[in-house]
Symmetry: D2
Subunit: 287 residues, 4 copies
């Protein structure tokens, strides 16, 4: 697994099984795969420290929704939106008086890293309206607020610190953090959505450890949603990449389209989850 | 003054004097104008409640730097950068161990409102580097961090609340807030920079009162810097503008260029003020 | 009509009737209005020189499709797409072996002027595929190519000259030119689509006469489609606007959204007209 | 050389010599390298068919200007601008009554491919002004016009056909075509400018042959300027890349900055070459 970086539990699982050269399951990992009409959903549950160590991921649940046609087919888009909303609702109990803070991570000036900020710009944000006009909304429109904290290099402040500060003020019941990810297999770039309930470490993965934001440290459940948009150059390169150069990434030539389509998919999955009575068509009219 | 909206003290002063039909000064307002080689600098000091009421502005200092060639001439650009840095240093005592939080207000998706966010993207941010490598910097590079809080309509959270939350965490000695402004006179659009020490009310001016962020309420001096990029349609329209329509703004056709040039001017004025030993050329190499 | 500028025949007609202080019709102008479920369609036919002079528009047909909800409602969007496609097909005989050149006029770097270029980026372009894989397509996918010629100020070449040059090479049967427009009434900004068959004069209206591109001068029928996105400041200003300043425009604060939504509407109206067997849903999957 | 793609003659030369396992020169290739203060300039002249075949490049001159600090240092930027202008003037005889057509190739919606269009937006275009105000300019401002033809996938028209059509109308004495390139060595991405006098083949290199635009086929000298911004994934990947996936590219994480800085460098090199009496500072004031 040397030099191979992946943010996907499903790939860490594959690599780990390949390394162990066994076909039976790893202790501490329960996995389940189902495929229907071109969409594959994989549940990976890491149940103990052994599983956590084997996969290099925290204990908890990782749902992967995959389809090669995610960026082209309207049918797939609509079904993936629904799947995302169902998985969010399984992980969190959304009530009409819940307040969810959606955090768009990543750097909006680097196209493949702009997934989180693009998702936030497509949300149906309601918190300020609910506060001022309590009777304006149906019971099934829950409270939603959003934050784009920026990245350490441009703010000078740890992203986790900004999220914590704002979270302490607005006191959400749930935090959903969205970020672009790195995959190891090029077939997963732009075709995959991962949803997990194990918290986030903004800025980690770049070679440094960061504090984890999860229910324990921030007082609200934290769901992380990601789409792989790049592969680390080191993962696929046959030549050594000199450390003094600007970091390289491998991405698809249609990355602008990928970000637009997958951001719409993730955003509307979240919108559907948080506003129970709205249809996809209602949501597309509003945002 | 009915229907005329201006964020510039210099225009409020002109309108107020015109209304009073007097040539002598208003009680509670001290003004001073000097012009040199195509740049006019006006100091307006509001010293008491009478002056504050007459101009509709808080007690304090308002510096206006004006030049019709601000967006074209490199000479003017360089001199205005220096003037901005001098005025900031007069208002705040910047030391090498100071920490300044620069806040980029406004909506980055509306070009004439993107001044604040564009300024932040041109800053020499140092806080995270100073924290990790204390000996890396010269004595005259002060600590700088930055925040783009977004706008109420897209975050669902009062902008002032986000700024306060982050400010309480990072505890800056100084806050500099940058925002686009509305002028009353079309000659001032894109030709003027205003610097004031009276705090900010993010989101006010759209017809609602908001809490003021100033030294009293946030525990750090707050300098506001703005450039007028629009005129309210109501200010110049001879027809009534129906309330049910989307809000109208009057702006220049070259607003993209205006934002780019004035953001660079304001950002480098701030960079010069906060990093005392750097030249404009040094700064342009880094950012 | 002094100082009032409008690109809409429907407004020129209103102004002309108001000036003439009559309620009966102007000689040389036939008009017809029908409204259905929130959409108003006005046909103005200018039949002779008198009508042309009265309205300041060339002899021919001008269709205006208006709805205050054009930028919000998906229902209105879908119906306006269909109306646009029907009007295009009435004006031009599109066959499966037709070649249409769609020209996106305007300056993509000025948001309210970017309609034409945004429409072109949403087209289902087929010319190159049809040339190389003649059997790939259904009979009802016609040939479509597209051009973004730029504006005189950035190319140094008259836009009409670029269009003519390319048109002489690719020899289209039909040219559809899309451009942002100026309205006189703020209620029409972003709510109106005009379709006409009288040709285009790229760069005219800025105070200079330009050669008209029409069937006579370019050898192909020319349909012009526009959406008003601005009002000339001179049209509504109560103060004289000094000539030495950068030109001012009045636009809506949500102009980014307006351009995105109306470009999608016009593009898909064109796509439906040119690819007879495709549904709106098919088209949205492909582009 | 299997699977290795490079647009740089200097790399083709290196690979060819490595393959030939010799240290002496290849017949038909004359090379010359000089380094001064951090900038390396390599001249490669291909003089006969043998050299052309060995390097896979047309007969002619290829100048490579390299500096690891191209994107950071203002000093390097200024010196590279001057070097580019000198090389252009060596290749073409620019007189005050010359007309140069600068063509910005590539797809502006894919960041690493946007070099050409970004260069065009930074040019001092003069053709339309010279035509209308013959006495306005100094003798040493030559005629400049510009074209962004788009890419085959979005126009449906061969790029070469658009360039030829416009060139036949405006009849330039010189064409300068600017495009992003692929390198084989990651050290050359964003650090290198190549200038050649052998013409261009827009759209070639994607695996298809295209007609070459050069003095013979278009009647004007054609200078090509490029900066490598990507590496083909196939060049460095240790795994086979499936053909059915979206094409992958390897680029740097700071590609937005790279494009901005290198586009400014190439544009101002061109501006200096075409407007002999202007300084870099003059040019930066105007564009």
């Amino acid at each position: 697994m040397q030099n191979i970086r992946t943010d996907l539990a499903v790939e860490a699982h594959e690599l780990s099984r390949r390394e162990a050269k066994n076909v039976t399951e790893i202790d501490g990992v329960i996995s389940d795969v189902r495929t229907e009409d071109g969409i594959t959903v994989t549940n990976i549950e890491i149940t103990n420290e052994n599983g956590s160590k084997a996969l290099g991921k925290a204990i908890g649940n990782y749902i992967t929704i995959e389809s090669p046609n995610l960026k082209y087919s309207i049918d797939i888009y609509e079904r993936v939106c629904t799947l995302i909303s169902e998985e969010i609702r399984k992980m969190a109990n959304i009530k009409s008086d819940s307040l969810t803070l959606v955090v768009g991570l990543g750097n909006r000036d680097i196209t493949p890293d702009a997934l989180g900020t693009e998702v936030v710009s497509r949300l149906l944000v309601t918190h300020h309206i609910k506060q001022n006009m309590k009777d304006f909304f149906d019971d099934n429109i829950s409270g939603v607020c959003a934050l784009i904290p920026g990245v350490l290099g441009t703010t000078g402040i740890e992203t986790a610190e900004i999220i914590k500060a704002v979270s302490e003020k607005v006191k959400p019941n749930l935090i959903i953090a969205v970020d672009a990810m790195a995959a190891a297999d090029i077939r997963r770039v732009s075709t995959t959505v991962q949803i997990s309930d194990t918290g986030i470490q903004p800025g980690a993965g770049v070679g440094n450890n960061r504090e984890c934001l999860n229910e324990e440290t921030i007082g609200a459940k934290v769901i992380a949603i990601g789409v792989p948009t790049v592969i680390d150059a080191a993962t696929i390169s046959k030549v050594e990449i000199p450390k003094e150069l600007a970091p390289l990434m491998v991405t698809t030539k249609d990355i602008d389209l990928v970000i637009e389509r997958t951001a719409k998919t993730v955003a509307n999955g979240i919108n559907l989850a948080l506003h129970r009575d709205m249809t996809l068509r209602d949501i597309e009219s509003y945002v």
